[in-house]
């Protein structure tokens, strides 16, 4: 299975697949003990007008992974994988529109005072073969993901759990023992790919059994997957009778199929396509805001970016409006050098940064790097990358900085730029802010693309994870974000919309769910008028 999340170079150039916005929150703080709370995910089913009608088949087109696709939910990697996994399986929790964890198969979770032991009560739910979802299934699923011989994507997210010590208290209660206090543990339960499968399940190609809203009918890798309503679904049976996922890697093919009435839902459209069809009455365009952070990653451990004055100068060089307009065709909003606009704990009180070339020049002069030359690594691996790089090059030239844009291979870009180079294009799908920090900004983070290593910053993170009170924790996050805003390595210039196209008779699609969250690509609340 191919790669990367949230990739999307587009265009006739025959790219393949669409990708996934990675997720995978590692450890979380999250204190909240969310007792009892049986609420289904956040604001699902927006855009629903009138009374839902039962029945019908919806065909949804996604970019996919070709003949290597699998229905193994733990191998979920692409958007298409995630959408299929979500139809067939459930996680213990999932992310709401603000990326906070919402209970799903878990009915409630309750930590001890040390925040390193969590009791998760399961709701009454059944798998498609009628068997109840039990604590043993949960432990089996998590142990499978954490198998050291495998490389499942969610493995890193489950790292805080000591699975040997964790146990089933009774059929519907799991006690998770953690390696350290983890206030945001519910984020772990909502991690990307952390689906619950029946104990012993190994082969998902033939007839996968899950507890999700739809049950398996057929699957042809790289072509289509058909599922049908599961009447006993714990969150209410879906309105649709059937749901068919079809794969069309070319954006133009997805649009044509939608316009030609061959599908009712097309995932991942280009901004130009959206503009051409928005408000024309033929199809409906939905923009999922804040779905993909757009940034440049500066390596803070090496020249010239080891000097924080240079980093600040680069923050001030960026004309964010121009970048959003040029590289995202206007489909998005500007960023403020922080991840997670609109998400829980986002520090939205900080002043919006704007271009200030004089101050940038002044800072560069003070840092002694006038006439600075930098190489910016980019690649057509994601929409707008190369465009953003050349726009930024021109903006930097106005501040006397010579940026050389180097275009690399899209198949290996993320590995290539993790440790090498000094400045690179970057983007990220939606995930909780805490996950962003733990995966990318701690000394031992696995994908620390800005090489941000600060013991005091690590300590703040540990402090947040050990803080039970949510308000206090928010204050710690704010401190961390202030630091990143002032001198971090991510120049976050924008947040791209994720664009969907739908037939006029499709109702109940959430309009406020960033890609990868609970209500994104969620079809059990969708119906056909």
């Amino acid at each position: 299975m191919p790669h990367a999340p949230l990739d999307d170079s587009r265009f006739p150039g025959l790219r393949r697949r669409g990708f996934l916005a990675a997720a995978g929150g590692v450890a979380g703080l999250g204190a909240l003990a969310l007792a009892g709370c049986g609420g289904p995910g956040s604001g699902a089913a927006a855009g629903g007008d009138g009374k839902p009608r039962r029945g019908g088949t919806l065909r949804a087109a996604f970019a996919g992974g070709g003949a290597s696709e699998t229905l193994d939910p733990h191998r979920t990697n692409l958007f298409a994988d995630a959408a299929r996994a979500k139809a067939l399986f459930d996680k213990l929790a999932d992310q709401g529109a603000d990326l906070s964890a919402q209970p799903r198969l878990a009915a409630s979770w309750e930590p001890n005072d040390g925040l390193d032991r969590w009791r998760v009560k399961l709701r009454k739910a059944t798998f498609h073969d009628g068997k109840p979802v039990t604590a043993a299934d949960v432990l089996y699923s998590y142990r499978r993901i954490a198998d050291p011989k495998e490389a499942f994507r969610a493995k890193a997210s489950l790292e805080p759990i000591d699975l040997k010590a964790s146990r089933a208290v009774d059929d519907r209660t799991v006690e998770f023992v953690l390696k350290r206090p983890t206030a945001e543990f519910p984020n772990v339960l909502a991690a990307f790919g952390a689906y619950i499968v029946p104990e012993g399940a190994r082969d998902f190609d033939k007839k996968p059994i899950g507890s999700g809203p739809f049950r398996f009918v057929s699957f042809a890798p790289g072509r289509s997957a058909v599922v049908e309503r599961y009447d006993e679904y714990w969150d209410g049976a879906p309105h649709l009778e059937r749901l068919e996922f079809v794969i069309a890697n070319e954006e133009s093919a997805r649009v044509n199929a939608l316009l030609g009435g061959q599908v009712e839902y097309a995932h991942e459209l280009n901004p130009t396509t959206a503009r051409a069809h928005e408000g024309k009455g033929q199809v409906e365009i939905v923009r999922l805001r804040n779905s993909a952070m757009q940034a440049f990653a500066m390596k803070t451990d090496r020249a010239p970016f080891d000097d924080k004055r240079v980093r600040e100068a680069f923050f001030l060089i960026a004309d964010r409006e121009e970048l959003v307009k040029g590289a995202l065709s206007g489909a998005g909003e500007i960023g403020n050098d922080l991840f997670g606009k609109g998400y829980e704990y986002y520090a939205d009180g900080l002043p919006q940064r704007a271009q200030d070339l004089d101050k940038a020049r002044h800072l560069l002069k003070k840092a002694g790097v006038e006439g600075l030359k930098v190489t910016l690594d980019t690649s057509p691996v994601a929409a707008g990358f190369t465009e953003a790089a050349s726009i930024f090059r021109d903006q930097a030239a106005k501040a006397g900085v010579h940026v050389k844009v180097e275009v690399g291979s899209k198949d290996t870009f993320w590995t290539d730029t993790l440790d090498s180079g000094t400045l690179a294009s970057y983007r990220s799908g939606a995930m909780p802010i805490e996950s962003h920090i733990s995966q990318r900004l701690l000394t031992d983070s696995t994908t620390n693309a800005t090489q941000w290593h600060h013991k005091d910053f690590d300590a703040l993170y540990q402090q947040a994870q050990s803080t039970k009170d949510k308000k206090d924790r928010a204050a710690v996050y704010e401190r961390m974000q202030r630091r990143l805003y002032a001198e971090g390595g991510f120049l976050v210039w924008g947040f791209a919309d994720w664009i969907l196209g739908m037939a006029k008779n499709v109702r109940g699609v959430a309009h406020d769910a960033p890609a990868n969250t609970l209500d994104w690509a969620r079809f059990d609340k969708v119906w056909l008028a």
Partner: protein, 335 residues
């Protein structure tokens, strides 16, 4: 994959059959073809290895956690030296085992089998229409040489030949599928069961036909004109043989010899995956399999495709040479 580009060319040595008989010639050609296929496979392996990154890096995608990449690499045995992996793969091949995909763990044979169906269907339909249409146009143009019909056919074929498949495809979809609504714009969701949806095949086949029809028709026309002007055609006419008989039994076979070579190249192009058409119309054939396999650095799948494509090219060229010998035995003798 761009066989139609070559309007002219020689096969792989038409004239080695001096007195040794057809069978020996075929055997030699097959041995040579096997050697060529091996060379292709080795070359493809070397080139794939030379690509930056491997299956583990491709699989890790935007989550290039070094520990995870290393774990994937170990699980896929990518940490073994390249020549060991090649030998292991070749050993399996001798037992008819094409190996398993790195990306999915499924047998490579299922990849090829699933992709081959749609590809073969498209190729068969295209060729079934290509031969009568191009020969018909070529003969018609030759008969009316220099007159209106000839000028129309010649300029139209030249014009259409200049349009790339992608542009033509987009144009046809926009007009016939989206504006007029006569045909479905894509074959999305039809899977391998394309025959059950013949309407979805019309546009892809038209796109595939466009350029080969032009090149073949022009070859047939040129061959016919040459042949009709040749001494033996004149001689036949002096004997009072009817014009139609001269045209179709004497001149046409000579015109078809070069066309057969071109046709083989076209079929080769069709069978080796026409990526643009597959992508545009969402037809999951071999071209799509190849695209994905390269992006995933899925070496066993790429190798399997190289074997199939190599053998296809060898068999088709051999077939074309046999046809050429049959139609114009002189060529073999003279060579």
């Amino acid at each position: 994959m761009s066989g139609t580009e070559a309007l002219r060319g020689t096969g792989m040595g038409t004239g080695t059959a001096h007195g040794t008989g057809l069978r020996a010639w075929v055997v030699r050609r097959l041995l040579l073809g096997a050697g060529q296929t091996v060379a292709v496979v080795l070359l493809v392996f070397a080139l794939t290895e030379a690509l930056p990154g491997d299956a583990a890096v491709a699989l890790a995608g935007d989550q290039p956690d070094p520990a995870r990449v290393a774990a994937i690499r170990e699980a896929l045995h990518l940490d073994r030296p390249a020549h060991e992996r090649l030998v292991a793969w070749a050993g399996g091949l001798l037992h008819g085992d094409l190996g398993t995909s790195l990306a999915s763990g499924r047998p490579v044979a299922t990849y090829l089998a699933n992709g081959f169906g749609p590809t073969l269907l498209l190729a068969a339909l295209t060729v079934a229409l290509l031969i009568p249409v191009s020969v018909g146009l070529g003969v018609l143009a030759a008969r009316r040489e220099g007159r209106f019909a000839d000028r129309l056919i010649s300029s139209a074929t030249l014009g259409v030949y200049a349009v790339p498949e992608f542009a033509l495809g987009v144009l046809l979809v926009t007009v016939f599928a989206l504006n007029l609504g006569w045909l479905p714009p894509t074959a999305v969701g039809y899977g391998t069961d394309l025959l059950a949806h013949p309407a979805a095949l019309v546009l892809p086949v038209l796109v595939l036909l466009a350029r080969p029809v032009c090149s073949l028709a022009r070859l047939v026309r040129a061959g016919m004109i040459d042949a009709l002007a040749s001494p033996y055609a004149a001689q036949a006419r002096r004997y009072g043989i009817a014009g139609a008989r001269v045209r179709y039994l004497h001149a046409l076979p000579n015109a078809l010899a070069p066309a057969a070579q071109q046709l083989a190249r076209t079929i080769d192009w069709l069978l080796c995956g026409v990526i643009v058409v597959e992508a545009l119309f969402v037809i999951p054939g071999l071209g799509t399999v190849l695209m994905n396999a390269v992006a995933e650095r899925d070496v066993p799948v790429i190798q399997g495709l190289a074997v199939v494509f190599g053998l296809t090219a060898v068999v088709l060229n051999l077939g074309a040479d046999l046809v050429a010998r049959r139609f114009t035995p002189r060529a073999a003798v003279a060579a």
